[in-house]
Amino acid sequence: MNQRTDPIEIPRANEAPEFADGFLWKLELITILALLAILIVGGYFSRDIFMYFRLIGFPWLHASQLTISAPYSDTHSVSLPSLGIGKQMFLLAELLVSFVICPTVFLFGWHRRRVNRERSQNVRSLSLDSVAYGFCGIVTVALAISVGPAAFLQGRSTTSRCEGDASRIQREGMMTEMSLIGVDAFIYQLRPKELGGGDGSFAGYGIGEKLSRTDYGEYTATVKSDKTLEVKGNSARCATNTISVLVDTYGGTYGWRFEGNWLGYG
């Protein structure tokens, strides 16, 4: 007797599809397109397009640029909300495209090709579009090769910026102090002789102890004539950097001269 059984297919648990066919693909394609759109739009609105493409792929370099170019704040730092939604999303998109999506696509593709070759199988075409594989390969390899030189150049640029700014601070501090010496000399020549002044002349003027040596530099004054005084300052940070200025009897300073290597000034 033939027993007939109905061909009921019971799907095995491990074969049951979790999503509809192609759902993951669609989801990720939309995500990737959205991330790429953010990067492209970010570039379009970038003030410095050259800088944008020079830094693209390295979110930390863009973040550095944002830190340096941010408006000064009390806390000396920039919060995430203050960046604006566009820049926030841009940084995240850059990180995801450069260091998550592209390496994953490239490494999975590379792994499959390598394994198939070792099994002496014909290299099956990837389930990915080969354009995506190629693009991600270029991005991943380019980033891997350039990450070292980029770090080196970034370090060098930071050092030179820091030296330039330190030099500017030094120079500004010395100029402020030399202006005050000019004021001091002006007051001296203004004071009558009975009050220990020059009574219309710089003759006999000497810089007070407090003004002559500070954290910024050391200063000397030379009387050029009754009506002109030269103040010279040597930087405390770099002895070869000097500034000199002339003071007139109206208390004005003129003829600023900067010698040595004042970084950050052409």
């Binding site: 979110p59 000064y72 920039v78 998550v100 070792e118 910026r161 004071r191």
Partner: protein, 224 residues
């Protein structure tokens, strides 16, 4: 099911890759988008970067598994770890460097503002002293009288700076005595050396310079 009829989209390796990407996007985005109390955008960015680093390490370890030939694994592993390591170093130094540059730029701005403040105050005081010593105004017996002649509304605590001059500065009269005038200059938006310093106008931590005028001259006290 026949392989030829299998959609490429259903390829298990591709599905695995899509899962990796999807999970990574979620994991990397979470620390970035979670509201942070931090005042710096570097904190969420670093957290996202850290997750990315861990993800990449996991990915490399996963892909270097069997059946990949054993001899290939160490070399590829070293290359991958080296690249991730250099990227992590570059990231950390970029953050440190950028903050250093930003801080120095801030200090430069402070130095410029301090200079402008001192110059403006000294100009007002020399003006007073010039009038005091000038033969036409010798009738003005005290420094205070000479100062009040130029600033008739000035009193202790008042701001003698004209608003039309702009900037975020204040020049306040601290002392107005016959033979001693002290002006306190404040830069209201910039922090000075000590962030806990109590400024003359009641604010905290701002740049403050003080100039004292006597018949002997001007004394500068850089207070904060």
């Amino acid at each position: 099911m026949d392989e030829s009829t299998t959609s490429k989209k259903d390829d298990p390796e591709t599905i695995a890759m899509l899962w990796w990407i999807l999970i990574a996007i979620i994991l990397v985005s979470i620390p970035y988008v979670i509201p942070s109390r931090s005042t710096s955008f570097w904190v969420p960015l670093n957290a996202a970067g850290l997750v990315t680093g861990v993800y990449l390490l996991a990915l490399v370890i996963y892909l270097l598994r069997k059946p990949l030939r054993l001899s290939r694994r160490p070399l590829l592993g070293i290359i991958a770890f080296l690249v991730i390591g250099v990227a992590a170093y570059a990231w950390v130094s970029a953050e440190r460097g950028a903050k250093e540059v930003a801080e120095l730029r801030y200090q430069r701005r402070v130095a410029i503002a301090r200079g402008a403040l001192v110059r403006e105050m000294s100009w007002r005081l020399t003006e007073t002293l010039t009038a005091y010593f000038h033969k036409d105004t010798r009738g003005l017996k005290t420094l205070a009288q000479s100062f009040l002649r130029r600033h008739p509304k000035a009193m202790v605590g008042s701001d003698i700076r004209l608003p039309l001059l702009g900037g975020d500065r204040k020049i306040l009269v601290q002392t107005l005595e016959p033979r001693r005038i002290a002006l306190v200059g404040l830069e209201t938006t910039l922090l000075g050396r000590d962030s806990t310093f109590k400024n003359y106008d009641g604010t905290i931590g701002r740049v403050q310079e003080k100039l004292i005028l006597t018949e002997r001259g001007i004394i500068r006290e850089s207070e904060n």
